[in-house]
Symmetry: C2
Subunit: 226 residues, 2 copies
DNA sequence: GTCTATATCATGATAGAC
DNA sequence: GTCTATCATGATATAGAC
């Protein structure tokens, strides 16, 4: 069957990506996936072996590119800087901006994958978190080091916490296209949806950099050194 | 059976709260819940009617108090201010600080409930998001209005976005006690776990306020007014 | 109110014909 | 590679004895 628009494996991945995004891993059945993909139920196990392996492949297909791109961008920036420390805002843009700009790239999953990723970082399933932690480790370490150098006066623990907070804010921003629409119930009248993504990036960047560069917290009764 | 430590309903709620936190709504079966609670399988349907109603009751038990407390605190602050606008940091603390301080209050669910809440805000299940949106609406509207007054020079849409980002950062901070530990893989050597919560609050507050008060974003090719 | 037993259905996975 | 048919399991929910 050469006439089929996409290979069976790709069609399964596309359907799984969308359905996992919409209903979560546990909330999506293989029957739904194969039904939407228009393939036979047995095809998932034939092509991927199991539902878990399918989930991993859904992520690997996108994350391989994303993480390589993040590495490439950071390497390039450091090369241009000639040993000078980078500005924190440049590092933040290289990490989060590269991610957010995937949203406009349909052939790399677009908003669907971004929302899936945003949701999955808090997904309860153990194997998914372990898998993502492994996939991300090299890149995270690299960016943490870059931030340590860019902010030598800030304790490393604070930087790591703030990286954590930035990840959270970003995940929500992308996962919440409809999730938190409900919670916040905003009526942003002045803009249409085509503008929304273009504006989200600078909006989020301002917020993230403001948070990253905020005055350090004062601990009340902390055991400062011991 | 008066001798039982807790009523059947409460024991089910406690078990469900912990298990939904650990494995998600779809990932938790009623057999697990009743097993951990030490009650019969049929007890859930007798006391709560269905798994969905149980989930709602798990949240209502905690959110009723939280949201009343948030309203009470904000009312009190505004009363004291005598019509003067509140400082943004005071409002942020009333909303997020009140939430975070629940973590230390075991009889109000403590960290378990906080982590459940953090995860659930990105939970895919439709009915949960709809339920939370309804439960939160009054409080969210009240706090948004307070922030609008506190920051009259900032466009309302920006404030709502930044509220959104703050929710995300906070959710992660609490949901991720072990979730993002994996992703960030930090080694915070200098503090023990008893300090962690005491320090999380000022850490997160600094970040949130830095983000909320950051310089406004510049939009590249935006249709500013139309 | 609490239990046992069970109805009814959906799930992930696989065997084996084509 | 793709299909049908089916297995074994586990899910939510309920009927009815105690």
């Amino acid at each position: 069957m050469e006439a089929r628009a996409l290979e069976t494996g790709e069609r399964i991945l596309d359907a799984a990506e969308r359905l996992f995004m919409a209903h979560g891993y546990e909330g999506t059945s293989m029957r739904q996936i194969t039904g939407e993909a228009g393939v036979n139920l047995a095809a998932v196990n034939y092509h991927f072996g199991s539902k878990e392996s399918l989930m991993q492949e859904v992520f690997r297909r996108r994350l391989d590119w994303l993480n390589e791109e993040r590495m490439r961008v950071l390497n390039e920036l450091e090369r241009e800087a000639n040993g000078e420390p980078l500005k924190p805002s440049v590092i933040v843009d290289a990490f989060f901006g590269t991610l957010l700009r995937m949203a406009g790239d349909e052939k790399r999953g677009g908003m669907t994958f971004l929302r899936l990723l945003g949701r999955t970082l808090t997904e309860p399933s153990e194997f998914i978190r372990a898998f993502l932690a492994h996939e991300y480790k090299t890149v995270m370490d690299r960016y943490k080091e870059a931030l340590f150098k860019a902010l030598p006066e800030v304790p490393k623990a604070e930087i790591v916490w703030r990286f954590h907070f930035m990840l959270g804010a970003t995940s929500y921003a992308i996962a919440g296209t409809d999730a938190l629409r409900l919670v916040t119930d905003w009526q942003i009248e002045e803009e249409d949806s085509t503008d929304r993504l273009d504006r989200l990036v600078p909006r989020l960047m301002s917020f993230l950099i403001g948070g990253l560069r905020a005055p350090l917290p004062q601990f009340e009764n902390a055991t400062v050194e011991h």
